[in-house]
Symmetry: C2
Subunit: 321 residues, 2 copies
């Protein structure tokens, strides 16, 4: 018999490696065609940690202000997330406010207040410096380099970035890329970083900059995974409705990082399973405002949806075995 | 051993059924970021026939003017296409002129001259009325109904349409849909036809209008196949470069129709193989201006690319068999 997905994520951990996530923690005010919410907990580090901590031990490094509520922190703790690197400092938490267009894709940023995030210097607690896997969410490239310098030698470094740093801080970003195993960025960022419009050319150009693997996110159209001698086309899970796309990319990354933390090595099979897992996690993420759907998500729900997804995407016939 | 694609298209024909294609034949003037060509043979019936005739017997019904060149007709004949239903009448051939944007997706129609296509009344030759499979490319719904009335009872009817008829001729189009097994339209047309923004809801709504299967085309992002108890997500083949997207949708349809003509029944496996085959055919189609790449395409080239595509899209592990 053919086993459609050989790694059962409910018993995912083969290693007890730990994932370090460094990024923003925010309070978002979000308006989508489905509604509006104010001061929703968010930020790349929060979404990524929530998704990954369902499966693997996570350490978070970030900063919050005095106004950040306790509840989301307690939830992370109940999932075993180590919050010693999450500094609470005087002032207000990073705030973002945005409105999504009717097509759910375009969005206008209405307001950004960096607040305590403006002076964020990641301080890695001693017990986190030997985490085996690192996800550097989208922050200033110099801070990403500082984090890597503080680590004792992770076996895998994954990176996100954004157009702002590609445009304004390219030399530093290129230094980070040389120390990166896996880059997760969206299609437009890949085009900007490579100067190539063709996504295949863009990905190959970026692989030449350092990362072994590049994952190009195409939102509701899925993603493309490119390595030197490897390519994978992964459709997104198709939903009837979505509530809020905020954090989808970081939730996707969190799902990927969970598999890459639980399984050592970047083999084709592990990589494919990681991206499938990220795809499923992101599909849940967009079904609630902010992180609310992730808060209640169970491993069983993930496995059920993954089986359905694998039926929808299978290209081969099981018969003939 | 697992056979990745069980039907070898090079020996595709299990039946000797014939495909009837009814649609436009045109002379296109095309400008893309890769260049410009004038008076390129085109039209839905031409692209679909070219793609399908590499595999199955095709009969074409359409109209051309006195100015349409002989060469593309001779090529179709060499592929065994029956051209008795392609009327040549006094006047000029349907002409379309368009310019694609730098993103290769948006395009401006610069000029449309219906010419002899304005008075097109499909006349099905006696020897074509018992074709087993029919593809009704995008023409006026009343003409599509006339074609179906002229047939002795095809086992499979597939349909394309466009926003113009959805907006202007909906009651007639709904009549055609009730007599359709397979609808192939793009995402925006599906939204317009169903009134639903969600593609999954749109597809389900359309299935309730008559077709057993709906294939929603998303251009370079692939397609979604929806039936009552079936769903398949199919990524597009990823190319380094394209030359000209004109006719991609009709080439895709031609590839699908070839498999559905060669293999009876709309089983999951046949449907999946059909859409994979259409995906590969369309990927070749956009690699040349107009139909030039399809003109020289060989079955071996298609099979080689299909094997590569199946490696890029496999979700399951062959091990364990």
């Amino acid at each position: 018999m053919l086993s459609p997905y050989r790694e059962d994520s409910s018993t995912m951990a083969q290693s007890r490696d730990r994932l370090l996530v460094v990024g923003s923690v925010a309070l978002d005010t979000i308006e989508t065609p489905a509604g509006k919410r104010e001061d929703v907990p968010g930020g790349s580090a929060l979404y990524c940690s929530l998704a990954a901590s369902l499966y693997v031990p996570v350490h978070v490094v970030g900063v919050i202000g005095e106004d950040f509520p306790e509840e989301p922190l307690r939830l992370l703790e109940r999932r075993g997330v180590n919050l010693k690197g999450l500094q609470r400092v005087r002032g207000k938490t990073f705030r973002w406010s945005g409105r999504y267009h009717q097509d759910w894709i375009g969005r206008d940023t209405l307001d950004t207040q960096l607040n305590v995030f403006a002076d964020f210097k990641p301080a890695i607690p001693r017990e986190s410096t030997d985490c085996e896997v690192v996800f550097l969410a989208n922050i200033q490239p110099q801070l990403q380099l500082d984090v890597l310098d503080a680590m004792t030698g992770p076996r895998l470094v994954a990176l996100d970035t954004m157009n702002y740093w590609i445009k304004g801080d390219l030399p530093l970003l290129k230094k980070v890329l040389k120390r990166t195993d896996l880059l997760i960025i969206n299609d437009e960022e890949a085009r900007q970083l490579s100067g190539k419009y063709s996504l295949l050319k863009a990905a190959r150009e970026i692989v030449a900059m350092g990362p072994k693997v590049v994952i190009l996110k195409k939102g509701e159209h899925g993603c493309i995974v490119v390595a030197k001698d490897y390519m994978q086309l992964i459709p997104a899970y198709l939903l009837e409705d979505i509530e809020d796309p905020t954090g989808a990319g970081d939730t996707f990354a969190g799902g990927i990082m969970a598999v890459l933390t639980a399984h050592r090595g970047l083999s084709d099979a592990v990589l494919r399973n990681a991206v499938i897992h990220g795809t499923i996690m992101a599909s849940f993420g967009v079904q609630g405002f902010g992180p609310e759907r992730l808060n209640s998500l169970t491993v069983e729900e993930v496995e059920t949806r993954k089986r359905q997804y694998l039926r929808w995407t299978r290209m081969t016939e099981a018969a003939g075995c």
